[in-house]
Symmetry: C2
């Protein structure tokens, strides 16, 4: 068994030994959802004050309003009753540090982890690549404020999103732990 | 300001006031990622023992291996160095309680939150629907074990996934807080 697997299972056994949340209902008790980045430094339960049972949390690379994030949000509202949604991107996001072209070229040469230096990204190993990466929109971020405005607007304007849901746009600062409102995004996310 | 927004911002101010994680590196320190469901009852940081900076967390409705989840996982390995991935679905998942047909029909009549009773789902309000929901694969789950096997296998076989990544399949029990291995999934996720 790998060290990580062992650590995860030990941590889970500890969690389960003190578990007292077995009676929670399926729908989120506080009727809201957070869409945020997968970044390891972000813990939305901690930065937004969530206990088990409170809110849906949707996470992907960048916290982007992808079709799949919208699938999740629509299920969250339509079947499980959330009425307010937060879109939270963050400072120092990995999605700002590459382009579709860079990612496609790196993957074309090798699927193994690349390294980044003063001259940008480079492959350490160069076997076993795939051209498939050139056909994917990686949803990179050029401007950390604009991406929040764009994503809130995309959700607001989506044909399957109910008009009375409030959508807020925030930037999480990884240096301070603070949520900073992006007023243009929150304005774009107002109920119609 | 809504009550939820006020509560989230107050909780965040409290978190930031005691924040001491401002120096964490961008790549996950423990080099792994978890793909799991958005369900409010799940807190992967708690159930798997994560601190800020440890691991990527990807979440969507069902914890499914959607194209967007694979986008995130490939970025996680290729650019940020994760080497082991967990796919964690859970008991009592909302994705087991509807079909594409049910969701498409509900949305066609109304975007507002539906209710569920003895006779299944029904709309409470019936204005402002959209037929767009009929064109989406909602990635519902028929069998909570099979979905984990299917998703691990899809990731394992994806052309952009490096062959030496280990992928583990687990079911989280919302009644006990325990992670239960799905051996067929973990077997399907072995490095090639």
């Amino acid at each position: 068994m790998s060290q990580i697997l062992n650590e995860v299972l030990n941590a889970n056994a500890e969690y389960a030994a003190h578990f007292d949340k077995g009676d929670l209902a399926l729908p989120p008790g506080r009727k809201f959802a957070i869409l945020t980045c997968m970044d390891a430094r972000l813990d939305p339960a901690k930065y937004a004050g969530l206990s088990e049972g409170d809110a849906h949390v949707i996470r992907n690379a960048g916290g982007r309003a992808s079709d799949d994030a919208i699938r999740s949000l629509v299920i969250s509202h339509k079947l499980l009753g959330t009425q307010e949604w937060f879109v939270v991107h963050h400072t120092d996001c990995g999605m700002e540090f590459f382009t579709d072209k860079i990612m496609g070229d790196l993957l074309n040469d090798s699927l193994h982890t690349a390294a980044v230096g003063e001259n940008g990204w480079h492959n350490v190993q160069t076997e076993g690549g795939s051209a498939e990466g050139k056909y994917i929109d990686w949803l990179t971020i050029e401007d950390q404020t604009q991406s929040i405005v764009d994503d809130v607007r995309r959700i607001r304007q989506h044909s399957l999103v109910a008009k009375d849901i409030a959508i807020y746009g925030y930037l999480y600062d990884v240096k301070t732990g603070k949520l900073i409102e992006i007023p243009a995004a929150t304005a774009a996310g107002k109920p119609l």
